[in-house]
Symmetry: D2
Subunit: 335 residues, 4 copies
Amino acid sequence: MGLDVGVIGVGMIGQEHIRRLDGGPRGSRVVAVADADAERAATVAAQLPAAKALPSGEELIVSDAVDAVVVTSWGPTHEPYVLACIAAGKPVFCEKPLATTQEACRRIVDAEVAAGRRLVQVGFNRRYDPAHRALKLAVDGGAIGAPLLAHCAHRNASVPAHYTRDMSIADTAIHEIDELRWLFGQEIVAAQVFTPRRSSRGGELQDPLLVLFELADGVLADVEVSVNVHYGYEIRCEVSGETGTVELADSAPVRLRREGAVAGLVPADWRERFALSYDVELREWVDTVVAGSPPQGPGAWDGYAAQVVSDAALQSLHSGGRVAVELPARPELYR
Amino acid sequence: MGLDVGVIGVGMIGQEHIRRLDGGPRGSRVVAVADADAERAATVAAQLPAAKALPSGEELIVSDAVDAVVVTSWGPTHEPYVLACIAAGKPVFCEKPLATTQEACRRIVDAEVAAGRRLVQVGFNRRYDPAHRALKLAVDGGAIGAPLLAHCAHRNASVPAHYTRDMSIADTAIHEIDELRWLFGQEIVAAQVFTPRRSSRGGELQDPLLVLFELADGVLADVEVSVNVHYGYEIRCEVSGETGTVELADSAPVRLRREGAVAGLVPADWRERFALSYDVELREWVDTVVAGSPPQGPGAWDGYAAQVVSDAALQSLHSGGRVAVELPARPELYR
Amino acid sequence: MGLDVGVIGVGMIGQEHIRRLDGGPRGSRVVAVADADAERAATVAAQLPAAKALPSGEELIVSDAVDAVVVTSWGPTHEPYVLACIAAGKPVFCEKPLATTQEACRRIVDAEVAAGRRLVQVGFNRRYDPAHRALKLAVDGGAIGAPLLAHCAHRNASVPAHYTRDMSIADTAIHEIDELRWLFGQEIVAAQVFTPRRSSRGGELQDPLLVLFELADGVLADVEVSVNVHYGYEIRCEVSGETGTVELADSAPVRLRREGAVAGLVPADWRERFALSYDVELREWVDTVVAGSPPQGPGAWDGYAAQVVSDAALQSLHSGGRVAVELPARPELYR
Amino acid sequence: MGLDVGVIGVGMIGQEHIRRLDGGPRGSRVVAVADADAERAATVAAQLPAAKALPSGEELIVSDAVDAVVVTSWGPTHEPYVLACIAAGKPVFCEKPLATTQEACRRIVDAEVAAGRRLVQVGFNRRYDPAHRALKLAVDGGAIGAPLLAHCAHRNASVPAHYTRDMSIADTAIHEIDELRWLFGQEIVAAQVFTPRRSSRGGELQDPLLVLFELADGVLADVEVSVNVHYGYEIRCEVSGETGTVELADSAPVRLRREGAVAGLVPADWRERFALSYDVELREWVDTVVAGSPPQGPGAWDGYAAQVVSDAALQSLHSGGRVAVELPARPELYR
């Protein structure tokens, strides 16, 4: 027992994961960190009982002290780090996106297939959220009959100034892309993006978007992507089936009666909303790795497929119309 | 068809009822008004197409132009007006309380019994609220098994400066007294009042109160009476039965997501909360009177019984301890 | 005071309206009925205190005994009856649809314009539902900032065997068409229909549909139309604005805790869900007619515009793709 | 890092805690177990990677292999085990009750005071439930003004045949006793038990009970204790303050629309409802022990005070009337 983890990229999300992994389940601890900002790596390492700052992610990956790797660095660096982990035969948990292009994702899939065993897990945390799991349980359990439609909303209170229209798809709706594939256990076959009236809160940014996804069996999912909604952070999803529907309930633990209203508080941001899902995600990942099993969570294929769908949606956003998703056959390794 | 109504007392609630009755169902109209303030009576009459201001309630009651009477005057005047209506053989709708003492209520009951027919309806409007009716329907329909407990709250945003501790029982909790009798179809046999920590918002007023009522079959109901609760006006009730519970749902028709919360608005006051119940109450009363039937709503006996329970609760408030309710046998007329 | 109404078509909805109008507000009563089934007309008339059965709708319309007309006959007969009312100068309340083709609706608009005054009201009852009014109040009052998106669902428990795919638009989604025009105070400029996976509960019927409407200012509204949803009748609508959202709350008046769940009952059908809205609709119509005012509710133009949008949606359903709505300029009479 | 725990009593709750502690946070693991049923102890130990079954709790406590002790044995054995832990100077987590009589609890307090440092934590898990923490946060943060009243319900779907009326207080309401002390940061000064109509589901058992607790500052809390409520397991609490109220929200993560209702599932039992609270409770306990700090959770004083209040409530249950709680001064160690 005991899992010695190396973390590449110790910005905000990296530090959050470190908090969960150091002194975490099954004796997991963080033994090495690396960051493009060496000073930051040193500072973070200094606060941990057992961690050393290493000069590069590459060195971290091959270090004998490191049993498994968490990649929380800048998106464009994901591909080389994950490929290096596969080469080193080490389990790797890579924050989403797996890589920033579908070609890069495909190279990871190919490398893993060539290596002949699954080592990669992607940080699609929705799958670990208790409410989303209850949603899937209801759908899978037949509580609403065969699913026919899904209505989703992904709302951020605000985004930084550098946020672009494309990021609404590639960084934000990517969560719904994975969620829908997971929820319905099948691939998305087409995407179409609509641009409603623009919110004045986002300046020149085209916000919100309305995205329509088609699943392989015909289920249609409409997704509102709003990134300046001001009132808080909220994820909504209702699945309509043949005999009923199931939706995420409000997540507020208490109801306040005050100032003329009965109210539940809305989370301020994704950290607040999904804190528990990250706990579960990393605990289950550690369990898997310690047990020597392949990752049970979203793998390289899921990261790749999500990227291909995201690219289709981006093409629709740029050119209009329905764009079919062209996904090659799923390799044997991922069946 | 057509019911010509006289209204005694044209203050706020009187004017509200006039609005419902003039040009109302079955051709009801207000043909006469009277008020201690003759000028106010004249002003109100002048705004109605068919109404005259009469110099006194007594004259209104005996006027040939008046088919039925609504009494919305000051509480202490209810007894003589209602007795005069009984003497005149005219249907009368009297706002709660039927009279301000149990002795006065008893005289009304006795007069009605002597007259040999039911003419009096008391304005306990809870019985006409769609949500309270749904509550009773669930209880009566066996949805929760035999009822065992009830948990109620009666909350006012604020009360005027002249409001007293006794009014929390006699004017406010009186609604729950009638509601519990109606909901469970039996009498209240004891009352006990507790005085929690005092709200600083009511100055010297002992507010809130917690009142415990025992029903004949042993059901216990705890009632929070809070009259300075600031956040709005709210009536809550949950009935716990052997196999489940039923409670009033939040009444807000829409849910707002804004400023960090998912919220439903709470009514500002009883007028807003119970507007529809008054509509139904008066429409059903008009229907009954036009049809020549005795009142289907709460009658003189209900007004009397509520007053007896209220007096028991007041005695507990003043002297402490559990006070048994001493209610004589129900006359044949009210069975 | 007193409004003497004639009712053409005394099937289910006709009889419901009669119940509201006979002995209704301001002394309204039903004085004449007509029906293609003369026997049914006679039977209904016999149950009313003041009504005669007339041999035809045409005769009813010109009868001196009739002040105003309610048309609740079969859709294809609406046009001639409404035109006859306009010719006779009598106020007419016509159940939706105003007429079954946009050309027929246009002829009604033209006739009214030629007559120079508004006599026609169309039975789009959503506008009278308290919850929908609270929704509009929140939107108009700025509670959510400028509206950007709307998410709607129109769900029927089941439909009769003769129900067709086109009826999902022309008979069912027509309510959302009017609702969206009213809610946002502007025209719909395009429609697009998507066909998700088909429910096995409707046999060969293409059910559900997903319809996308574009408002003049760019607001996009997605509407799920499901007519075999089995679990009950439910209308959902959420409007997303720049700073928040507002949605219809669950309509259940009580919450039941039983058998492992906390539940609110869903209405069985539209009669249960919208009973109160019909009360308000007809009461306000009577008030308007008695006051000699033009109808305050949806008029001939609204009936026409809704039909034009419905036709565009039908075209999209048949041919695919986005179909622009071609609506002529609104005549002066309707501004 | 790493905490080696011994567990005394490996029945259901013991095994649940073992699951959380073995391979748990900060490298915690279970190294020893003991049970009155030696065979059961052996079976449980055999399934754990690092645990030995020891012949007695006493030997486990003094074993050098054991850093800290969890007591989940039968209630009457708690006192000697906890006293032995204090004597051995080892941190001990004892499931509630701390001991089965207030005298026994007092002996533990006295022993801890004599030892001069806090070693004991009691398993009052409500304090670790996220919803209860949000409730306390709202109260403490002033969201509802000064608290005045609390309305609670503790409902079990069913209880075993050996369950007695006294257990409704001593085993069930004991959770509310601790919760109220913690929520309001003060002692309970009186208790009064009322016996409503008896549920037929519990046979001869007097169920439900209604208990009224008075806090030192006058806050009154009414607690429904129902142990055969059939529909599920549910904990309810609303605190009424001067300007508003706060209550536990429904805990269901999703809402199902099916079969005529919109419903959230209710937990089947306390294990389902409070799973997360046990996770947090034990994780925080491990953190505290590893850090060498005194327990941050409920300590021996809390276990003792709860028992004194429970005894007062039992006296009221047996003899009727309000029973004042006689609690000696709080020793310096617990201030």
